[in-house]
Symmetry: C2
Subunit: 319 residues, 2 copies
């Protein structure tokens, strides 16, 4: 498919073209950037909602229930599931995606899993681009769901405008969520499995942590109870999602987040392009290979060599 076919396909709502574009994104194909560059002006309309939390805290079932409810309101939905914990098996372990099956025949729901092929930075970059593609495709609400809840997930989820952090009563390792630094990024807390003992206590605990939190907040994250099986509490989650978006708009934070996002992305793209350029210019050159051998033999140090190579190959040479 040509760049134009992909651009037109995505803009006219063709799933095959969207799937193809996301595959190009995953494979870091340069064509993906061309397509995304042309789609860019058609983006920025979707409400991107990140969902993170420890494994087993009901992220997938929450997304499924939210999707069902939002479909009743005629909202179109995109879901991107990200598993940064698995460098080798990729998306293969995302078997719980099977729960989204009730929506697979609905053309207004688009679900895509993404695993790690390369390093973490690559996954965050790819996720951000995939969300953008689905945004251009025209979905109203895009969920970005992570498998775990570590630093890697935090970096990925930060592209969202609204972040939901899930937890379950008696998850044993109560400190887990706090440790992962996800307390600080939550806009809405959802304690799932409200039929389990300890659910109310969990809500109290999270509220207590928010009370002692030194961060000054214009938006106090609500702590909600849901039941992923029955769907109880899901309506309230949707209310709070809408209220949060409203808050972002009225407070000017939505615009501010958009600017920060653009700044981060520009940086990220420049770093990415420069790094690739570096690879292409240096890999395989005899001077480069010789320098590596000298470093390994402790005859030169990598800090000095890095300075020299940057000066020699990237700046002095004509491009």
């Amino acid at each position: 498919m040509s760049v134009s076919e992909l651009v037109n396909g995505v803009l006219s709502g063709k799933r095959r073209e969207l799937a193809r574009l996301i595959s190009l994104i995953e494979n870091e194909d340069p064509e993906a950037a061309e397509v995304l560059s042309r789609l860019y002006k058609n983006t920025g309309k979707a409400h991107v909602i990140g969902i993170t939390g420890p494994p087993g805290s009901g992220k997938s079932s929450l997304v499924t229930k939210l999707t069902a409810e939002l479909r009743k309101r005629n909202k179109t939905i995109g879901v991107v599931c990200v598993d940064p914990s698995s460098p080798f098996t990729g998306g293969a372990l995302l078997g719980d995606r099977i729960r989204m099956q009730e929506h697979t025949l609905d053309k207004d729901v688009y679900v895509r899993s993404m695993g790690t092929r390369g390093h973490l930075g690559g996954l965050a970059r790819a996720t951000s681009d995939a969300v953008r593609a689905i945004d251009a495709f025209g979905k109203d609400i895009i969920f970005v769901e992570t498998v775990g809840a570590g630093q890697a997930e935090v970096e990925i989820i930060e592209i969202a405008q609204t972040i939901i952090v899930t937890d379950v009563p008696g998850s044993g390792d109560d400190i887990q969520a706090i440790k992962a630094g996800i307390m600080e990024i939550a806009d809405i807390f959802v304690v799932n499995k409200k039929d389990l003992p300890g659910a109310d206590r969990k809500v109290t605990e999270i509220n207590a942590m928010l009370d002692i939190d030194p961060i000054e907040r214009a938006w106090r994250p609500p702590v909600l109870l849901t039941n992923g099986r029955t769907g109880e509490g899901v309506l309230e989650v949707i209310e709070k999602i809408q209220a949060h978006l409203q808050f972002l708009k009225e407070s000017g934070l939505l615009e501010q987040k958009g600017l920060q996002r653009s700044r981060d992305e520009l940086h990220d793209l420049m770093r990415y392009k420069l790094t690739r350029e570096l690879y292409q210019k240096l890999e395989g050159r005899p001077e480069y290979e010789a320098a590596i051998k000298k470093i390994a033999a402790r005859k030169e140090d990598p800090y000095t060599v890095a300075e020299r190579l940057i000066a020699e190959f990237l700046f002095s040479e004509s491009r």
Copy 2:
């Protein structure tokens, strides 16, 4: 302290200078690179051993017991504890370091915790440099211990020559270790808490997974049982650590790993330096700030702007 004072201090075994250097490394102070550049030729002597595994699998107690045993053999020890899961609280949650207290009065043991201040890439870079500083300081064996066992930890631990993966019987989420992709990087498996029921079964499971593993291995990772409390099994771990180092040397893999490490590090340093240069050249410039606003307003796309800025600011301009 001047660069020379730090270099001489570290080389003559002064703990205060080493601590100061590692703080500079953590703060990404440019002076750190100068010091490390001058220390580099004095490195490459330590055996770096990575220890990773799920939380609660006894990594810290294993390191403590190994340290005690290796001290009896007059080996000097460095320990770097890394917690990539916490972007905000940094090293503060590494309270379990308290277990190493039995060694705090031993001047031949140096322990240091590192948390995430910035992004993950920064932590891997800082950990690698801290290990190098301790290497130059003269420690024979350096343990790099991670708090969790995700992709982030894998990236950090890859600087080690020998990697130990810990697990416990009945850790519930048996798939966790496999998921994290740490099966593939293990040189030695240690099933801790051998007094717990299910320890033998766990050993069998790991061995079974190794049997079906499609990777061709010259070194079959042994699966050992230990008791972190009593120290049972620790001698065997030490034997296997030594056997693995021997294997690396005889097979030529040690040299090969050293070359790969130098290659990766050179890349990493170049990328890091370029990124910093980019920040310094662009941040705050009116054209740059205007471009960010246009991107946020969808009047320009970040892909095209990134290309243009790289060409304009980094290449055409005189440095």
